[in-house]
């Protein structure tokens, strides 16, 4: 059975190997470049002792100008699980059903339950292994950016830690389940892409920020020069509040302080009105808790899809 799984899917596995190798090569080359520049420009020193050099703002800005686009480009790796779900997951059962070969393989001496188990184990182990290697490499690659932006905001969170493996497992299970239920590989591929985005994006936008109630801190910039929300925290909004904590609209605040020249004057103006800036954020120490919750959600979805697939294969296909 293991031999059969290998023989049937060696093409896909070679493809994954190829994609992984190419990505690894790109990441290693660019990552080395980023790490060197990070040292040479003095970004590392600035991060260690922000007060030591008055040019730190400029230095960090320069570093970001040079490599910020790479950080954004790496965001496309979020689609990699969907790609694997489409290429490996969707055809896994669907291709058998399209060619009626399930009637050949299920009437050998191996029960279909075992047939499915070995196949699932085989592709899950291979794809999760690839995902783990890539995630580890990406963590090294992102390390310089992580010191500047942290890893809690979505462009970091989605690519590091344990969630990438959960996304990979979910995309695979979705592809396999879609292929099993739809019995056709191409429609299953479309459903896999659509389904993956339809789950990932709403959770990212509307669910993840509220795994725990966000914290709010009221900041008076004239008292405290640096925002109390650090770069490692995940801040999602800021707005003006009066002394009683009631929210002011932005135009209200800006019209009251119209005519000020500098940021400092604006802050002073806010201060004279007894107005504060309310910052809503998730603190950095919740990072692993949030990773755990998000992983649990996607693992639960994965298990549900796999159970559905197993049930369907056992009872609904002949």
């Amino acid at each position: 059975m293991i031999w059969l799984t290998w023989r049937q899917h060696r093409g896909e596995l070679l493809l994954i190997g190829g994609i992984l190798t190419a990505l690894a090569a790109i990441l290693i080359v660019t990552g080395a470049q980023i790490a060197t520049t990070y040292q040479q420009l003095g970004v590392a020193a600035c991060v260690a002792h922000p007060a030591a050099n008055s040019n730190c703002g400029q230095i960090i800005g320069g570093f970001d100008d040079q490599f910020g686009w790479m950080r954004s480009a790496v965001g496309w790796l979020n689609l990699l699980p969907a790609l694997i779900g489409i290429l490996v997951g969707a055809p896994l059962v669907a291709r058998e059903l399209e060619h009626s070969t399930q009637r050949l393989v299920w009437t050998q001496s191996v029960t279909r339950a075992r047939w499915l188990m070995v196949k699932l184990l085989g592709v899950f182990v291979m794809c999760l292994l690839a995902s783990a290697i890539l995630t580890a490499l990406l963590a090294w690659w992102r390390a310089p950016f992580a010191t500047l932006q942290g890893s809690f905001s979505p462009d970091g969170f989605d690519l590091v830690g344990i969630v990438p493996l959960a996304y990979m497992a979910f995309a695979l299970a979705l592809g396999i389940a879609a292929g099993t239920l739809l019995r056709r590989a191409i429609p299953a591929m479309v459903v896999t892409l659509g389904g993956f985005l339809a789950v990932r994006l709403p959770i990212l936008t509307w669910v993840r920020p509220y795994y725990l109630p966000p914290l709010t801190v009221n900041w008076d910039p004239t008292q405290l020069r640096i925002s109390p929300v650090s770069r490692a925290d995940w801040q999602f909004s800021q707005n003006f509040v009066d002394a009683h904590g009631h929210t002011l609209s932005d135009p209200q605040a800006y019209s009251a302080c119209a005519g000020v020249q500098t940021k400092g004057d604006f802050f002073q103006c806010l201060h004279t009105h007894h107005w504060l800036i309310a910052l809503v954020y998730q603190p950095a120490n919740r990072f692993w808790l949030f990773q755990g919750i998000e992983t649990a959600i996607f693992v639960a979805l994965t298990l549900a899809l796999i159970s559905l697939t197993i049930w369907w294969v056992r009872w609904r296909i002949s």
Partner: protein, 335 residues
């Protein structure tokens, strides 16, 4: 419902395993939504037979075969293969069955050698020599991709795979339907010789009756899910006669009815042709001139039973499903 062998009909009960029928179904049914693909099917195939399962398209042949190999689970009744339930005891039933599905599916991207490797890896009783000897004899190259073989060769590879499993029961679903006449003949020859060598029980479905006589020694006629007739082919042929005589000879017809059951009656303007089943082979009806009695070709017998209306059915709950189509056996058509 207990699925132990003791719930089988009378034949079982001995320690003598030869008495366990290769196939026994009891009121077997498969329903999809509200329509029954197979219903109330009770039949037995003794071990050691090479049986043809004959019936029109849509009679439920494929459904029946899929139930027997465990690809489907019954909605009603039970199917037993060598006394075991293929749906619930797949682990012990599957190694004993060789199955060639309709259109003989194979992995088209595999080489023939890959297909044999699959058989070796997936079957405990696999015998490589059987498969490779058979393929060598047919000059099918092992390093050729399956997709590049002709339809006939693919059918032969499927058969070789099923035989190398060394099954006790070989089930073939319309194995020759998609083959040209030459490939069909070759396939059936291979099957015959394999059956002789391996002594395997065979059930093969077909709607082409002429081909089956050279291979099969047993016949099961299935129409609208029901077993219409089953038995050894020589016995069936021995019991049936084709009787022709002038039309409107009521006295002779009454005489025939005393010795035989008329399965089908066909009338032209001047002639009456009957296909009848003798009550006793030793006592055919005495017929006056110009009546003639001859052996009936197997195909005629099969067609007669397929055209026969269902026996008066016991009324069942949902009448609209089971209501048999009404046939008129006496056709007044002019040919």
């Amino acid at each position: 419902m207990t699925l132990t062998p003791t719930s089988l009909p009378a034949t079982v009960g001995h320690a003598d395993t030869a008495a366990v029928p290769a196939i026994a179904t009891r009121e077997l049914g498969k329903r999809y939504g509200r329509s029954w693909a197979l219903r109330d099917c009770t039949l037995t195939l003794p071990a050691g037979r090479v049986a043809a399962l004959v019936g029109p398209n849509g009679a439920g042949k494929t459904t029946l075969l899929h139930l027997l190999v465990g690809l489907l689970t019954p909605s009603a009744g039970e199917a037993l293969v060598f006394g075991q339930n293929p749906a619930t005891q797949a682990k012990s039933v599957l190694p004993r069955i060789g199955f060639v599905a309709q259109d003989h599916p194979l992995y088209k991207g595999f080489t023939v050698a890959d297909m044999l490797m699959m058989g070796r890896r997936l079957n405990p009783h696999w015998d490589d020599a059987i498969a490779s000897a058979r393929l060598r004899k047919l000059a099918i190259p092992l390093d050729r991709r399956v997709g590049k073989l002709s339809g006939g060769q693919q059918a032969q590879v499927s058969l070789a795979l099923a035989l190398a499993k060394r099954p006790d029961l070989l089930i073939l679903d319309e194995p020759v339907a998609s083959l040209d006449p030459l490939a069909r003949r070759d396939f059936l020859r291979t099957l015959s010789s394999a059956v002789e060598e391996q002594g395997v029980t065979v059930l093969l479905s077909s709607h082409i009756i002429a081909d089956l006589e050279q291979v099969c020694d047993y016949l099961i006629i299935l129409a609208e899910s029901q077993e219409r007739l089953s038995g050894a082919i020589p016995a069936i042929q021995g019991a049936h006669r084709l009787i022709t005589g002038p039309r409107g000879d009521a006295a002779t017809l009454a005489g025939i009815a005393a010795h035989a059951t008329v399965i089908e009656e066909h009338q032209t303007l001047r002639q009456t042709t009957l296909l009848a089943r003798l009550h006793d082979e030793m006592q055919p009806p005495n017929l006056p001139m110009p009546w003639q009695i001859t052996e009936a070709p197997l195909e005629e017998i099969v067609l007669a039973y397929l055209g026969q209306p269902l026996p008066a059915e016991s009324p069942s709950a949902d009448e609209e499903m089971s209501a048999p189509t009404t046939y008129t056996t006496t056709t007044e058509d002019i040919r």
